[in-house]
Symmetry: C2
Subunit: 634 residues, 2 copies
């Protein structure tokens, strides 16, 4: 049966099962959803929708037909008329593809009204479905740009969603075995360029599609693997926004992919930010660009955001659910369910299995689980990290000592995750009077922070509450100074004033942190603190290992040596990764206990160590595959 025929049959079923007064205009597959366009959406109660979804075994969305929606301009006017001025409406964002309008206000309670009365009134007047949210304390340029793109190119986006929808809901007949295998195209026995190809007789899915910024010759996953065919991909799933997990996604579109990218909404926004930043840095360094800004935009238009815990059809035989991974904002464990209760595989991406200041710990309970693919960054025998409390104490000690002797503290950080975590620590230290000096934020940190405040529901309970009490929002503290230009950066470097600098990139592979380092390295008063994983091959790793001189290329193209005299510290407890103890604990706690465990995302020895440990301790089948190995799990 063709997708069109399937859709026609579903439409008949829906009409038969729905109240007549709803006036169904159209039924469409849009991405993973079955969307019912009606004249009177209010007729569809939650119960009716739930029953339909259960009966038809589809994710169902009921929307007002475009013909009944009030013009956005007029609708906005109406909203402002209806809602009392005290609500402080800042912005109304219309999404014609969902029929929703996001109403950003200072007091969303007033938009909702008593028992939802105001909301009801708005809905009736404009027909758009109103979604009241609190205005984020910091505005994100990235989110603004993404919303603008999706609005401007809404017709194309709708077309993309319908095409994807038809592909997801196609009819397949499996002859013979239904097997499941995973090919490791990158990130096996290495950190960087994570990329796993999941294959079944009818489906091809890519789990992550990263790049390794540390190497020129191992930058991209093994796309030359014979089983990889960009045209045959059904879906790309991105666990989180770090470049080693998502850096090549726009490149897929450049080379012919035109299917969906599934991730959480924060991941979509953060990865867009990081991909742009990657292009900027590569451009400045004169490196070849694997894709353009246009490809990043294409990627955004193909991204289907999904929330934690919502199960989504991504192919005729595979369902995807994302679960919190505790690693960075929006980071997810991807759980794949194959066939009708046939098999289940979870891929952790990067996980943190304890609470951080920002996030809740990784989820470890799944409805079913046969194979677990787990990261191994700190899977080696001696990879036991200090506790976060110890790490915080040590950080503040180094900071206060360096400030006291009039030095500058450089902390190279991933802009996403580590930076915000450290901001919270430093803000507290500053408030407690442990040091008295400004904290400069350079690179994309500010923007990444803005995205954090836009998704409070993805943050830990504690920080979520703080953010929404403006006087208490730690990210808005006076101690933080945003570095907005090269001049400002120059001034910070040249001034005698002691200070703390948080700057990207986190491994000194480029960006402002490298600039600062070159200038601060010769002075022994200064200090550098590494707070994140430094990959093999990066300058960060070399400095960690004790290099006492580094070669740099000057403006006139000559190479000169810079002495490294500043104090070098590594404080590991801030890592967004689980250490060995936590990884083992995760294996112990994960429910149900899987049959097979596959170790990826770690240096060779760590993957092997971890694999052998789990085999020994838990008597499981474990694997530490190489890149280009393929493992049949079922």
């Amino acid at each position: 049966m063709s997708a069109e025929e399937i859709l026609e049959n579903l439409k008949k079923e829906i009409i038969k099962r729905s109240p007549k007064e709803a006036k169904i205009i159209d039924v469409q597959f849009e991405g993973p959803e079955l969307v019912i366009y009606v004249k009177n959406p209010e007729v569809f109660t939650n119960e009716i929708v739930k029953k339909l979804a259960k009966d038809l075994r589809k994710r169902i969305s009921v929307r007002p037909d475009p013909s009944v929606l009030l013009e956005p301009e007029l609708a906005k006017k109406k909203i402002l008329e209806i809602v009392p001025e005290d609500a402080g409406i800042v912005n109304c964002v219309f999404d014609p593809n969902t029929g929703e309008v996001i109403i950003e206000s200072k007091k969303p309670g007033l938009v909702i009204g008593k028992e939802g009365k105001t909301l009801e009134e708005i809905k009736k007047a404009i027909k758009w479905a109103p979604k009241p949210v609190r205005v984020p304390p910091i505005q994100s340029e990235t989110i603004k740009a993404i919303r603008a793109t999706l609005y401007r190119e809404r017709d194309e986006v709708k077309e993309i969603l319908r095409r994807i929808g038809r592909r997801i809901h196609r009819d397949v007949v499996i002859k013979g075995d239904y097997w499941i295998r995973v090919s490791f195209l990158g990130g096996a026995r290495e950190v960087g360029r994570s990329c796993l190809l999941v294959q079944t007789p009818d489906t091809r899915v890519l789990l992550d599609c990263g790049i390794n910024v540390a190497y020129d010759d191992k930058t991209f996953p093994h796309f030359e693997a014979p089983e990889f065919s960009i045209e045959d991909l059904d879906a790309v799933i991105i666990t989180h926004a770090h470049l080693d997990h998502c850096g090549f996604v726009p490149g897929l579109f450049r080379y012919g992919y035109d299917g969906p990218v599934y991730c959480t909404r924060p991941t979509r926004d953060l990865m867009t930010l990081l991909q742009k930043d990657y292009l900027d840095i590569a451009m400045k360094e004169g490196k070849p660009l694997p894709y353009s800004a246009k490809d990043i935009k294409t990627c955004v238009k193909h991204t289907i955001p999904i929330d934690y815990g919502v199960t989504t059809d991504i192919s005729p035989t595979i369902k995807l659910t994302l679960h919190n991974a505790g690693h960075v904002l929006g980071s997810a464990i991807a759980h794949l369910h194959f066939g009708e209760g046939l098999y289940n595989l979870a891929y952790t991406g990067d996980i943190k299995f304890e609470p951080s200041r920002l996030l809740e710990p990784a989820v470890c309970q799944f409805p079913r689980l046969e194979t677990l693919i787990i990261e191994s960054t700190y899977g080696g025998y001696d990879d036991v990290l200090p506790s976060r409390e110890e790490a915080e104490r040590e950080l503040l000690k180094v900071v206060s000592e360096t400030i006291d002797k009039n030095g500058k503290v450089l902390i190279p950080v991933f802009g996403v995750g580590r930076a915000q975590e450290l901001m919270l620590v430093l803000e507290e230290g500053y408030n407690q009077g442990i040091f008295n000096a400004p904290v400069y934020l350079d690179g994309m940190i500010w923007e990444a922070t803005a995205i954090h405040t836009a998704y409070p529901e993805y943050l830990s309970k504690e920080i979520r509450q703080k953010i929404f009490h403006e006087g208490d929002n730690p990210f808005l503290s006076d101690v933080f100074k945003r570095v907005g230009s090269t001049n400002e950066r120059r001034n910070i470097i040249d001034s005698d004033e002691p200070c703390i600098i948080l700057a990207t990139s986190g491994m000194l592979t480029g960006g402002p942190s490298l600039e600062y380092f070159k200038n601060l390295a010769p002075d022994e008063k200064n200090a550098i603190i590494f707070v994140g994983y430094q990959a093999e091959g990066t300058l960060g790793r070399k400095i960690q290992r004790g290099w006492k001189e580094i070669p740099i290329v000057t403006r006139n193209g000559k190479t000169k040596s810079i002495p490294v005299n500043l104090s070098v510290y590594t404080i590991e407890g801030f890592s967004g990764h689980s250490d060995r103890k936590q990884l083992i604990k995760y294996i112990r706690k994960v429910k149900p206990s899987p049959e097979k465990v596959i170790m990826v995302h770690g240096e060779e020895s760590k993957c092997i160590d971890f694999s052998e440990t789990v085999r020994r301790l838990f008597k499981k089948q474990t694997y530490a595959p190489n890149n280009l190995d393929a493992i049949r799990v079922k």
Copy 2:
């Protein structure tokens, strides 16, 4: 550089380095060889050819240009004129694609003449290169048909060879890693449908391409594996003629393959015989046919026979050498050499690592070796087989006892290999007076025996000598009676006369052995002796396990039960496979000792047992992959 340009350059080099009197007419890639067509081939001494081959790093063949060859009719006349009548010339087989004429005679010495004088004279007169051979004591219909096809369709064959030649010698540029991986499409943790896909950045090679006749749903290898693309295959290598290693090769041609098949000459002939027989049986049983007789012919035309020990370019970066595997006539271990001294992999196919009556033991010395892929049929903990001598004694004991009580002995055998081995044992027993009854040969045994006698150079020294002393040729003994028709078979079944029956198939999956079994099973005087491996799922295995009744479908389509009352014996020492002790001995002896050992071609538990044993004993990396796993070896 295109293949044409490469060829043009080589031609220039050859002309520069060759004696002018040779008069070079043309230079062509034909399969793996670089062929020089000349007017005066005699000018090219062995030394000149050797030096050219060394300098140009190509397999070189010098042939008379077709324009100077005498018409075959006239040439034959000339040969008969020149050679004395006593030589007893039976046949002259002209191969226009090699410029050779095979002269089959009773006394090849007389064709050669004193110090090769007669041969020289022939060559001068007809220009064809004469190859004197002794006429085989039994004529093979298969060989006759293959020769006829190759002669009749010689123009197409030449075109095929040239196309393959250009592909082998194409120019490739490898960017990035040169990796090597093996995907297991069949025969991993199972016996049957052996099929391994070797992949490098520039080459795809299939090692074996078998079928499993025992199962209807696991008949064919996993061609749906995403990395398998029939159009991208560079070569197919067949280790030996049993259907579980070569049964699907004609199917490859049916579905679009048009490249070379490499194997020994006996393997080509035996596999053609077995594939035809497979089609015949499937047709009779009304089973779907995966290919037709025409596809078998296409396969023959694409087969490039190579001798043991001759190294052959099969792709721009891979060289193949076949070595004796001791399993059946022409069986080979495939040794692949990658890049310039970069890596070496040997795949044993099926091996016997001790001398049998027919064959020398498997080769265990290679110039280099990093990965060994080895069969595991008898790799389990308790798979220690009795010695051949014990097995022979036991066989003759069962035979003589059954004959003594007027019973019939049914021995289901593989037509190729086991049958001939048993014929040698039975002939000796008959001569020694251990039993006195005829031995009937049914199915393809006779024809397979004929092919054995056509390739004495592939047999053990002892049997080779016997064959050529006609009075002493055991295969021609009076004890053997060929069953040529259904009527004759009926008579044997109905008669009261005790006898021994060797019949195919070897696992009672069809063919005459099944016919005999149905009729002999109810009578307890009779006996059945299993002498070969009975795969999971076959009737043979079920009988071995003690089934006391078997369901059969009668002529009118009804199912009835047949009681199994005859005595059932399993005598394992005749296996063409190494037992566990021999397999371990092989790993110990193989030189150089490989880093990795991969176990295939065995039931799940045996592959795992064997793999663990080798890991423990030899501290090697071992693997027991599943079908659809891929292992990167380099």
